[in-house]
């Protein structure tokens, strides 16, 4: 991994997860927005996945295809390069964020355009493309409604699919009224916070940009090695505008998005919309191969982005995260995400997938609290359309965080000492029995009517909100030994 790879994946200066979550938990409006949004989409997803008899087989097929492709990624990427080139596109390889940004900037400059329209894309967010373009004097306009809200509000995305999920209608109206004028066509007078009115304001604002733009930048949901077909799946049609109207199209895609065959879409175009928006089929699916004379963009560039992915691929447990199709089902079902929202994860990839992907892309030491941002409840694993065992990867990464800390400090920290001490006690039945007697005595000293109330010191995190029963005077093993004095096991 090169030194700057993945630096844009995490937002610099973000506090650890527990501290960042504190802000979100203290915001009742945000918690209401999140709860409403996540529970609605959860129910929709359950309805459309439940109606298919072969949903489990589809998941298995999707997981198997991804497993196979990742195992032979080198081969499929070369095949993709070949077929895209044959179809008239140009393939560029970017080792890291800086490399990808350089490539895109130069491509835009070569067209002498000073602005680009953008299709919603995680990969370009991951590399911080908009900021890089801005430094080169090129303005990037987000055209996805939720991305537009985030961009106008000078905000950060908090969800993979609905980046402005933390905003409600009233806030959106306020952002449109305040900011649209500075970016182009202002919001209409007397704008209300009716969803229809807000969408219309965005439509008018964006139409100017679609008609004017010479260059579009997109991500990709998939690219087919066999045919060189690249595809974007969306709901609003803004993507279709960007992909067809401008003269030049630049697509930035993580290397893990390649699929072997056109036929593989049969599986993924069922898995994605049902898991993502809870729809049977999404409204717009755009696919294209290279360039077609007289139809659509006449120059097509595909930038293949590594940015920490090959390093992730080397980890046989952690590589599952690269199978992700960015549907966001794991976010929507996650009880932790529901309470904290996306910003607490301090990364463009929030929620359960963020907790396993971000630390791998940037190195566990740069996102050490993320693998612990989960109760391991497993709801994400059940929901994931490609069966990524997120809890398994989380505990795997937790072990890596602990090992990284161990390697760095010569003196073990308090937690490491406590764990070591716990092993020492728990590895011996005799020591455990002594500890149980001490606990019973200690519990009686601090308890009142058999219940332990708030305690000072490190345990306050537990006792602040919960009473704890005082340990019983007799442990189970003591009881057993008393009542089964001559048993075979005594």
């Amino acid at each position: 991994m090169s030194p700057d790879s993945g630096t844009n994946v995490v937002w610099l200066g973000s506090p650890g997860f527990p501290e960042a979550a504190h802000t979100a938990l203290g915001d009742p409006q945000l918690r209401r927005n999140l709860r409403k949004a996540t529970t609605t989409i959860r129910d929709k997803r359950l309805a459309v996945t439940g109606e298919l008899d072969d949903w489990e087989q589809l998941r298995e097929a999707g997981a198997a295809t991804k497993r196979h492709t990742l195992r032979h990624l080198d081969r499929y990427l070369l095949r993709l390069e070949d077929s895209v080139t044959k179809a008239g596109g140009v393939v560029h390889w970017a080792a890291d964020a800086a490399g990808a940004n350089r490539i895109v900037t130069e491509l835009v400059r070569a067209t002498s355009a000073h602005e680009v329209v953008k299709v919603k894309s995680m990969a370009t967010q991951e590399i911080g493309l908009n900021e890089a373009l801005e430094q080169a004097g090129i303005r990037a306009y987000e055209t996805d409604l939720a991305e537009l809200i985030v961009q106008l509000g000078d905000d950060r995305p908090s969800h993979i699919l609905v980046p402005a999920i933390h905003r409600n209608r009233a806030e959106i109206r306020e952002i449109f009224q305040r900011e649209m004028g500075a970016w182009g066509r202002p919001a209409p007078d007397g704008l209300t916070d009716e969803p229809r009115a807000l969408a219309e304001a965005a439509r008018l604002h964006l139409r100017d940009k679609f008609l004017r733009a010479k260059v579009a930048v997109s991500g990709a949901n998939f690219a087919i090695a066999e045919t060189g077909t690249v595809g974007v799946v969306e709901s609003e049609g803004n993507g279709r505008m960007c992909l067809t109207l401008p003269e030049t199209l630049i697509t930035v895609m993580g290397i893990e998005k390649v699929l072997p065959l056109w036929q593989d879409l049969e599986v993924f175009l069922q898995l994605l919309p049902r898991s993502s928006t809870g729809e049977r089929m999404n409204p717009y699916t755009s696919t294209w191969r290279g360039v077609t004379p007289g139809d659509g963009p006449q120059a097509f560039h595909l930038v293949l982005l590594d940015n920490g992915r090959t390093a992730t691929l080397a980890d046989t447990v952690g590589r599952q995260a690269l199978a992700c199709i960015r549907c966001s089902a794991c976010l929507n079902v996650c009880p932790v995400y529901e309470r904290t929202g996306g910003h607490a994860y301090g990364s463009v990839y929030p929620g359960p997938i963020g907790a396993i992907l971000t630390p791998q892309l940037v190195g566990v030491e740069h996102a050490a609290t993320l693998p612990f941002a989960s109760t391991l409840c497993g709801a994400c694993y059940d929901a994931c359309p490609v069966k990524i065992n997120i809890p398994e990867v989380l505990t795997h990464l937790r072990a890596e965080v602990v090992e990284a800390k161990r390697a760095k400090r010569r003196v073990p920290g308090a937690e490491a000492l406590a764990m070591k001490a716990a092993t020492a006690v728990l590895a011996s039945p005799r020591r455990l029995s002594v500890a149980q007697k001490a606990a019973a005595l200690g519990g009686r000293l601090v308890s009142c009517k058999d219940v332990i109330g708030p305690l000072p010191g490190p345990l306050h995190a537990w006792t602040d909100a919960r009473d704890t029963p005082a340990p019983p005077t007799e442990s189970f093993r003591a009881w057993w030994q008393r009542t089964h004095p001559t048993g075979a096991d005594s």
């Binding site: 109760t375 092993t423 590895a427 039945p429 995190a461 909100a465 189970f476």
Partner: protein
């Protein structure tokens, strides 16, 4: 069949009544339960917190303590899951050939209490009487880890006198998560708050589950708020013939 009880270190220390209840139910069904005194802990806390090498002596100890039994029963869904899923993984990662073999042979013999009753012994009516309003919280390890499904409810439905009420948002996590409750205390508490609201809305006298760890978390909150709702391990309801709700 030689049945050994794996009480778990947590129940051993904090909830001995649960272990006694398991013994009571199995003896009532005509089985003899043994308690290997060499047992201690499955290492779940170490594993889930990232301290894998520290868990290895516990994996070794478990394999040794339970080598001679046909079935190992435990009143903890999360510890059963730890032994079955993660002991093989730890043995693979850090152990020698002998340990790998012992774990591969022993792990499948571990059954969570309701699994033993329903799947191995084939009973759902254990002759219990418990005349109280009860709601059941399926812990995440019961629901999505071991996939206990309907087994706990089938056992509860057969209890005489019971008024079993459904818990709203039944499949949502209570927010315990082991060391999560300490590392992310505020989020844990927020999740606990929602779980308690749902429990209170059922009007139940008792909330039960297949894991005392989640129950201690839920019960701790219910007690702090003076709701008057008690928590009881499922095994203790199945052991009851007196109808005495604690």
């Amino acid at each position: 069949m030689r049945i050994a009880l794996f009480i778990t270190c947590f129940n051993d220390t904090m909830f001995p009544e649960t272990g006694k209840a398991v013994v009571t139910v199995l003896e009532r069904l005509g089985h003899t339960v043994e308690f290997p005194l060499a047992q201690t802990c499955c290492g779940q806390m170490h594993f889930n917190t990232g301290y894998r090498p520290e868990a290895l002596p516990l994996v070794r100890g478990f394999a040794k303590a339970f080598a001679d039994y046909d079935a190992i029963v435990t009143p903890s869904a999360s510890c059963a899951g730890m032994v079955r899923e993660n002991h093989p993984l730890l043995a693979q990662q850090y152990g020698d050939a002998a340990l790998r073999a012992a774990v591969a042979e022993g792990a499948p013999r571990v059954h969570e209490f309701t699994e033993l009753l329903v799947d191995v012994l084939g009973v759902t009516d254990v002759g219990a009487y418990f005349p109280h309003r009860v709601t059941y919280h399926p812990t995440c390890h019961s629901l999505r880890g071991l996939r206990l499904g309907d087994k706990p409810l089938a056992l509860l439905r057969a209890v005489r006198g019971i008024d079993l009420v459904e818990l709203p948002a039944v499949d949502s996590c209570c927010g315990f998560g082991g060391t999560f409750a300490l590392k992310n205390a505020e989020i844990s508490t927020a999740m606990l708050g929602d779980k308690m609201r749902n429990v209170v809305s059922t009007g139940a006298d008792v909330v039960c589950a297949a894991d005392n760890s989640c129950l201690m978390h839920i019960g701790g909150g219910l007690s702090r708020l003076r709701t008057g709702i008690g928590t009881l391990h499922l095994a203790e309801i199945l052991a009851s013939t007196q109808g005495d709700a604690r």
